[in-house]
Amino acid sequence: MYPFTYHRPDSLDEARARLAASEDGRPLAGGMSLMPTMRFRLASCADLVDLNAIEELAGIERRNGQIRIGAMTRHAAVAASPEVGEAIPALAALAASIGDVQVRNRGTIGGSICFADPAADYPAGVLGLGATVNTDRRAVAADDFFTGLYETALEDGELVTSVDFPIPERAGWAKLGNQASRFAVVAVMVSLAGGAARVAVTGARTHVFRAAEMEAALAANFAAEALDGIAMPSEGLNEDLHADRDYRAHLVGVMAKRAVRDALAR
């Protein structure tokens, strides 16, 4: 690991000031991606601003028909939350499917969506449920948040503070996890709210995306059979030693159907 200066602010204001004062500052959330990346010297920074002591950034509450999850809320807390389990059980299931026990005890929703790994689970949850990402400066719709491979709409020094999830009528989660890492080879979050369906796919491209043709079919008939005959083009999909692009295209259809069945079973 390259050397850095360590900061441990206990308020959001102090964290913002630390990042603003640094030419090369980086926030540290759960560290489940950033720590290994820094250790391999694939990432480095002059100032590491640890967000783990900022209590105002963690917590889950239901308000105004939404579930608000603080950026520093651990995956294990979301998976075990009665509020999430009651309102959006598919989101609790997503959190419970991330990595392993040790990772879920440390990893955070804010860290996951800001790192924006192409195979991370939370981006599909945020996009598939039509959530809003709140930062220290503004509110960003999920559709505008994920912009590329490890890239988001965040500006320099901008910090995610929480994510607001509207409570859908139905939502379902399905994932084919890599056998070793448990990252998604392909995973899909579907939801139905106010007659509109969302289908968000992670693991298949540079970043999470919505499958428009599937959404239209599910808005008309929210059933797995409605997806029969809708083929995902394999062009532009990820290809690696775990799955070639034709297999991934096939998996998008399979996972979308499983997610719909999951939604209907909840």
């Binding site: 690991m1 360590y6 720590m35 290994p36 250790r39 040790q102 990772v103 005890n105």
Partner: protein
């Protein structure tokens, strides 16, 4: 880079140290405190051999900085045995031959204790699923699963 002072407890003992901020907890435990029971298995945060309990919950000590632990309580494999001998989970691993080379065993035992604390009479399926973050290259897991089931039973008394 500025050294940082940090205080936390390890196996109930107060530790105060001045460390380079980039020191990983696992290296601090092994090289500064000489608690070498916590192993470095993979260096990619996948194998779980470095699992310790952080405020009572399992975490991979290769993905934590020592400076992050101000005020925290760490338990390592050296801290689980009682005055009267091995922890019931350690005894179960011995009894059921839950190890071959032993390299992954500290992490497996720490995880087994956590599984037993969260699940009443965990099933084989539960144990296998909860062991997702702990890799063993020798046993094929059968005896590890058996050991944790038996250890959970003796922990319940």
């Amino acid at each position: 880079m500025a050294q940082v002072s940090v205080s936390f407890t390890v196996n109930g003992r107060e530790v105060t140290a001045t460390v380079d901020p980039r020191t990983l907890l696992v290296h601090f435990l092994r090289e500064e405190l000489k608690l070498t029971g916590t192993h470095v298995g993979c260096d990619t945060s996948q194998c779980g051999a470095c699992t310790v309990h952080l405020d009572g919950r399992p975490a991979k000590s290769c993905a934590l900085l020592a400076v992050q632990l101000e005020g925290c309580a760490i338990t390592t494999i050296e801290g689980v045995a009682g005055a009267d001998g091995m922890h019931p989970m350690q005894s179960a691993f011995k009894e059921h031959h839950g190890l071959q080379c032993g390299f992954c065993t500290p992490g497996m035992v720490m995880m087994g204790i956590d599984i037993a604390s969260r699940h009443d009479a965990p099933s084989e399926e539960t144990i296998r699923s909860e062991l997702e973050g702990n890799l063993c290259r020798c046993t094929g897991y059968h005896n590890i699963v058996r050991s944790i089931a038996a250890g959970a039973q003796s922990m319940r008394g």
